[in-house]
């Protein structure tokens, strides 16, 4: 067992904490914030997994996920701002 596996469990715990806010969150903006935070933790999880399994090529996926996370947050917030999906 690699020592980095511990950090996978820590990241999983933080993701679950934020997931509470995504499910419960009273407004749509709380959910966007939560999704953004979960995306950041997913990037880290992919990096940790690439070290646990010793596969450096997973890092490309992490970089792509960072780009997708950023564009996703921007697009959803602009859609909510102009599209009238307010609560």
């Amino acid at each position: 067992m690699s020592i980095f596996e511990i950090f996978l469990y820590i990241l999983l715990a933080t993701t679950l904490i934020v997931l509470y806010r995504v499910i419960k969150g009273p407004s749509v903006f709380d959910r966007i914030v939560g999704i953004n935070a979960i995306g950041t933790k997913t990037i880290l999880m992919i990096v940790v997994i690439s070290y646990v399994f010793e596969r450096p090529s997973f890092l490309d996926i992490a970089l792509l996920y960072a780009i997708l996370n950023f564009i996703g947050s921007i697009v959803i917030s602009i859609y909510v701002e102009r599209g009238g999906v307010t609560e």
Binding site: I3, I10, V33, A62, E81
Partner: protein
């Protein structure tokens, strides 16, 4: 010997990063309104990710793989605040209410006097 020191620095950086990530997640759950939740999400996540990836950079040494890690750090550093700013502007412009000590308030740009 050097390997052990490297591993120790890596573990310390990873632990520091996880501390900030946990603090940020708790902040997202505990804070009373959307705007203060964004403080926790925007700052703690960026620093937590940078510290953890910096730990992996030290573990890896300097080669093509660690340069990719540094690219991820730079990208998140430049885009994290922009994403938070997009969300907070969407919230302000759609009239989302803000929690203050006196109670819930709607904020308008005209109510703040320019200095």
């Amino acid at each position: 010997m050097i390997e052990a020191v490297k591993l120790a620095i890596t573990i310390v950086l990873l632990l520091a990063g996880s501390f900030f990530l946990i603090a940020g997640s708790l902040g997202i759950v505990r804070f009373p309104d959307t705007y203060s939740r964004m403080h926790a999400a925007g700052k703690c996540d960026t620093l937590g990710l940078s510290l953890m990836l910096a730990g992996f950079v030290i573990y890896q040494g300097l080669d093509l793989v660690s340069i990719k890690l540094i690219l991820i750090i730079l990208f998140v550093f430049f885009t994290g605040p922009v994403a938070v700013n997009a969300i907070i502007r969407a919230a302000i412009n759609s009239g989302h209410k803000m929690w203050t000590v006196e109670g819930w308030k709607e904020w308008k740009k005209e109510t703040v006097k320019k200095r």
